[in-house]
């Protein structure tokens, strides 16, 4: 295998890990606190997901660049300072220049500090890896988090309020107003699904489905690998 090939292989693995194999929510079961608090609608899920992705990429990059300087014993406080400063920085910059977006995301940004998944990535990956793979790892893990949040928010929103991507144009701009759909007109709402306990129930169901899918995939692979017998 040539140098570039093995590198490509490595990048593909990082991508697959973030999206599915080692997904923050589905596999690592991290970041459940912001997850349950925010995913009452698909738009909210998407908002927190994107904000987290940005912080994750930046935190991974900074940690990777500083890994030669930061000694092992003090790496955790050092990393926490990096993450907390980044979040504060992004909060202030968004508030000053992208104020309408900040009004929608404002609630989520301080929540990012509580997200143990970011410290997890910095600790287990970026503090040992070169810059480029660390950037990719932040992107993959962040987008993996984003799609799970958006899906969970979507399920809860449809079941709880009968809409999907309500107020998406407030988050993404007027071009995305077409995303806003009413799935069940005149729906009276199911409060339980919108409140945090509903989040736990739906998350449980999603994890069960993920397990089943993986089981089926493994079985299929086993069948495909088995020698064909008889006729």
């Amino acid at each position: 295998m040539t140098q570039t090939n093995s590198q490509q292989h490595q990048y593909r693995q990082i991508w697959a890990a973030g999206m599915w194999d080692n997904n923050i929510v589905l596999k690592q079961s991290l970041a459940l606190c912001p997850l349950l608090a925010v995913t009452s609608s698909a738009t909210n899920g998407l908002g927190l997901g994107l904000a987290t992705t940005v912080v994750m990429i930046a935190a991974n990059a900074l940690t990777s660049m500083a890994k030669g300087v930061i000694s092992k014993a003090v790496r955790i406080p050092a990393n926490i300072i990096i993450i907390a400063s980044l979040v504060t920085l992004i909060d202030a910059l968004l508030n000053a220049w992208l104020h309408p977006l900040h009004k929608v995301l404002g609630l989520f940004i301080p929540l990012i500090v509580t997200n143990c998944a970011i410290l997890g990535r910095v600790e287990s990956y970026a503090s040992k890896s070169p810059l480029l793979p660390s950037l990719l790892d932040g992107l993959a893990m962040g987008l993996g988090f984003t799609w799970v949040l958006t899906m969970l928010g979507g399920i809860r929103e449809v079941m709880g309020s009968g809409t999907l991507f309500a107020n998406a144009s407030l988050l993404l701009g007027q071009h995305f107003a077409f995303l806003e759909t009413t799935v069940i007109p005149e729906y009276r709402g199911l409060l339980l699904v919108i409140l945090p306990p509903g989040g736990f129930l739906i998350l449980g169901a999603v994890l069960a489905v993920k397990q089943k899918v993986e089981q089926l995939l493994t079985e299929r692979r086993a069948i495909a690998a088995a020698p064909v017998t008889g006729g």
């Binding site: 000694s71 014993a73 003090v74 300072i81 000053a96 107020n167 919108i194």
Partner: protein, 206 residues
């Protein structure tokens, strides 16, 4: 040999405390600079938001003074209200704006009420709240026109301030009664606070 000595030095207490201090200092410096840089911009944005809300509660009426610069505080029924006076170009009072808070279903609801000199509501808007998304958040104009029901109401023409479930005048939402009830109570008390304030120190209305 050189590398080894360097690694050993990195494990020393001196290096580690120095490193942490340097990181803290650098982070603090960056944050202070960004704070200094963005603070005026953020204040400007907040002011713009407030003025946009002000335009809405005054139903587009024009004003010539800096409304939020000066306020009168008034306490009524253990609640705190701030009353702002809206003046026209000639210095005459045209409207009053009351800012108040009320406990909702899950936290404090902060609102703004615009009232003309006759005591008739020109508009009510919610400044901030933390009600249940999809249920209680229909008090926001972006989500539902409910809050415009207050327009044209006054203490004189509305004998029963309450939601219809309690025999009052205002609608509740399906699935959420506590939130609209809180807003109706809050606006009612704000109107009483304004009336009390007018009695105590009558403003010239022209």
């Amino acid at each position: 040999m050189m590398q080894l000595a360097l690694d050993k030095w990195k494990e020393s207490i001196g290096y580690q405390s120095g490193l942490l201090a340097a990181i803290c200092g650098l982070a603090a410096l960056i944050l202070v600079l960004v704070e200094l840089w963005t603070r005026p911009l953020i204040n400007q944005r907040i002011e713009e938001d407030q003025n946009a809300l002000l335009d809405e509660v005054l139903a587009g009426a024009t004003y010539a003074n800096k409304v939020f610069a000066k306020s009168e505080a008034i306490d009524i029924q253990q609640r705190h209200y701030e009353i702002f006076t809206v003046k026209n170009g000639q210095g005459g009072t045209t409207h009053f704006v009351v800012r108040g808070t009320e406990e909702g279903f899950s936290g404090t609801i902060s609102f703004l009420v615009g009232v003309d000199t006759e005591g008739v509501i020109t508009g009510v808007r919610i400044i901030s709240h933390s009600e249940t998304p999809g249920l209680g958040d229909k008090i926001e104009l972006a989500k539902s026109p409910w809050v415009t029901e207050f327009n044209q109401h006054s203490l004189a023409n509305t004998p029963l301030w309450g939601v219809k479930k309690d025999g009052g005048t205002f609608d509740q939402f399906t699935g959420a009664t506590i939130t609209p009830r809180a807003v109706v109570n809050g606006v009612h008390t704000a109107m009483q606070a304004l009336a009390k304030n007018m009695e105590e120190q009558p403003h010239d209305a022209n």
